[in-house]
């Protein structure tokens, strides 16, 4: 199945070279979880702060729930503005 994986701010450097607009389409096996993708892309644990699945925040305990086809997973380090 395919999911869209997005990394922003200082995490953008962990995206592969073919990423565009901070996003890359990737093919993953069934039952792949957000935490498995975080590990696969070697994201430093303390920089994984804001994790959104289809725009909805995933609490740390929700990040072992398998993704579904065409899900969008977007991740930021701690950020703020206003």
């Amino acid at each position: 199945m395919n999911v869209t994986f997005k990394l922003f701010a200082s995490l953008a450097t962990y995206l592969p070279d073919d990423a565009k607009d901070n996003a890359v389409e990737i093919e993953v096996g069934r039952d792949t979880t957000p935490n498995q993708l975080i590990e696969r892309f070697r994201l430093p644990e303390r920089e994984v702060h804001l994790v959104l699945k289809n725009g909805v925040f995933l609490q740390p305990f929700d990040r072992n729930t398998p993704l579904e086809h065409q899900d969008v997973l977007a991740i930021w380090p701690p950020v703020a503005g206003g």
Partner: protein, 618 residues
């Protein structure tokens, strides 16, 4: 104590200047800056006064920590009755002039009356004079700044000024200091223009002495700077990415108001984001972002300094815009970009430069352009009014043209200078104005961040994100994560943010410190500097008192609970995409609970009991 205990009163009608002692009883109740100046303002002005008449007053106020070595201790506020809203206007700015004013020995400057001809206020410590400014009238902020520096032959003097938009009557004109920092909202610059006060130039050489316990102050401010440095947001995120890092976040959660809030997601959000600002442009190979920048005493340094590609259509053959200047912050980038549907980063930067150059609020400006674009697309405003310019969503040319028109106040620029509410009323479509109490919304759609709907509806100065930034909790998880799509608990959350922010805004510190600090971090700094036994509890109580005082004032000015409302678009038209799809703003649930928590009546009126509890003036 780090108040100077001295305020300056400038009677512009008579051209006289006098000195008064600071009311220390009020300082103990209202801290400084926003709170203390509001107390003076409420005491001295008729709430029914014409905001642009001589009876309105204009106060420049510092806080007790302004000009000290506390991190971010460089803030000042401009307090007046706002012409955009008819409510209290209180606009906060950084840069350097606040600290300079304090260093010149003044807690506050109260300007009253109206000068018969243009003047500027020149302050060098306790030597203060009004100088003729006929030669500066009609000049932009940038030209005014340059001319004053030349005239006074002092490269170090700090200047706050109004531009041409204020003189032309734009109702959301700002006071710009240090070229590109702004006391931006509610038309405080318009009030300054109405008083024929073109600028304030300040040189302070006295420093900020009389800190209560200097040794403890040095120790505690150093400890708290360490907290900011070690926090991922204030130590790394904000200096590297600025507030603009939010563009993609807010778009992803489906709360980025787009095309005058018709949609909640913008297809070109990524093109106008912090990430895009740092990316080399295809056209000239240089990034929009040159560097970050800090205001006085700030150890965060979130400011953006940008350049526009010299070949970009907005600045071609205009070398005055080729240099570095104040770049896009998130709220400005949203208003100038997503809300108008414009995805051209350099066009947004140009519009932002013009807002600084001629002194007007980019949030209200962008949102008003968005309303004008909708009026144009609906066929209500036509090319006849706009000299042939097609005001269509997504048009960078139209955005740049609108900025130039508002700067000069010419032609359709006068209509745009009315703000969204009066513009839409003028053209018979008031429902297209995305405002509360006459002030335009900032960059968060209340359908996707429910707490912000209540924040906007109850803000004492009209729609504003800075009065209670619940986005911190609802989206960013600071201090703890709450669900942005739920209305549960939001009344209490909004009140807590409102009260704490009112306190912070009264200290001289920047509200951005609160991404790392709570009042527990701020109180020891205030207490080491000031007499009065300042604890987090005392600060919070003062914040609640300030909030109620502001509310009392706007009620006396004629606003009621009926003004605590949102446009029908947000209450009736559900979000079309993203996580908030199908949702409207749940104000009907949150507002009664909020009134109850505040101790107000069910229609939002302060009670005598509440007034008495906080010792508010009768």
């Amino acid at each position: 104590m780090s108040w100077t205990r001295k305020i300056m009163r400038v009677n512009l009608t008579e051209g006289s200047i006098s000195e008064e002692p600071l009311n220390m009883e009020w300082a103990d109740q209202y801290i400084g800056q926003r709170g203390l100046a509001t107390r003076y303002f409420v005491e001295e002005t008729d709430p029914k006064c014409d905001p642009l008449g001589p009876d309105n007053k204009l106060i420049f106020a510092t806080g007790p920590l302004t000009g000290t070595m506390a991190s971010t201790g460089g803030r000042y506020s401009v307090i007046t009755k706002g012409p955009l809203t008819g409510a209290i206007a209180c606009s906060n700015s950084g840069g350097f002039i606040g600290a300079e004013l304090k260093s010149a020995g003044w807690d506050m400057v109260i300007c009253e009356g109206r000068s018969p001809s243009p003047v500027m206020l020149h302050i060098v410590d306790d030597k203060v004079e009004l100088l003729p400014a006929d030669d500066l009238w009609g000049k932009s902020v940038w030209d005014t700044d340059k001319l004053i520096h030349q005239k006074l032959n002092d490269p170090q003097i700090r200047i706050a000024a109004i531009g041409r938009s204020a003189e032309a009557g734009c109702l959301y004109a700002a006071v710009i200091n240090d070229l590109h920092r702004a006391a931006g909202r509610s038309g405080v610059g318009t009030v300054m223009a109405s008083k024929n006060l073109k600028a304030m130039a300040v040189r302070g050489t006295l420093g900020v002495g009389n800190v209560k316990d200097p040794k403890r102050f040095m120790q505690v401010t150093a400890e708290q700077k360490q907290v900011l440095a070690e926090n991922a947001v204030t130590g790394q995120g904000l200096p590297a990415m600025g507030t603009q890092v939010l563009m993609n976040v807010i778009n992803e959660i489906g709360a980025l108001p787009t095309n005058n809030m018709r949609e909640v997601q913008f297809k070109d959000a990524n093109k106008i984001s912090a990430e895009a600002m740092a990316e080399p442009r295809e056209s000239d190979g240089k990034p929009n972002l040159t560097t970050n920048a800090a205001c006085f005493g700030c150890t965060i340094a979130c400011g953006r300094i940008s350049t526009i590609d010299k070949g970009h259509f907005t600045v071609e053959n205009k070398p005055e815009y080729w240099g570095n200047s104040g770049g896009l912050e998130y709220e400005a980038a949203w208003a100038l970009g997503a809300d108008t549907g414009v995805g051209d980063l350099d066009a947004l930067t140009y519009a932002n430069f013009v807002c600084n150059e001629d002194g007007f609020d980019p949030i209200s400006f962008g949102a008003t352009v968005a309303a004008a674009m909708e009026l144009f697309e609906e066929g209500v405003v036509t090319a006849e009014q706009t000299d042939g310019m097609e005001l269509r969503f997504g048009s960078a040319e139209a955005l740049a043209w609108c900025a130039e028109k508002v700067a000069s106040g010419e032609g359709f620029g006068a209509d745009l200078g009315l703000g969204s509410k009066r513009l839409c009323e003028k053209y018979g479509r008031p429902e297209l104005s995305m405002t509360v109490k006459g002030q335009e919304f900032p960059a968060y759609d209340p359908r996707g961040v429910q707490g912000m709907g209540l924040t906007y509806a109850t803000s004492n100065r009209g729609a504003c994100h800075l009065r209670s930034y619940t986005v911190a909790s609802e989206v960013l998880g600071i201090p703890e994560k709450t669900d942005p799509l739920s209305v549960d608990g939001k009344a209490g959350l909004v009140k807590a943010f409102q009260d704490a922010t009112a306190a912070v805004d009264s200290t001289g510190l920047c509200v951005f410190t609160t991404f790392a600090w709570s009042l527990d971090n701020i109180a020891p700094q205030v207490d080491a500097a000031c007499e009065g036994g300042w604890t987090a509890e005392k600060l919070l109580e003062a914040g609640e008192r300030i909030w109620n005082l502001e509310r009392d004032y706007i009620q006396r000015a004629g606003l009621t609970g009926a003004d605590d409302n949102l446009p029908k678009r947000l209450l009736k038209d559900a979000a079309k995409t993203g996580p908030a799809e199908g949702k409207v703003a749940g104000l009907d649930v949150m507002l009664p609970e909020y009134y109850q928590i505040r101790g107000w009546t069910s229609d939002g009126q302060l009670t005598d009991e509440t007034r008495s509890k906080f010792g508010l003036p009768a």
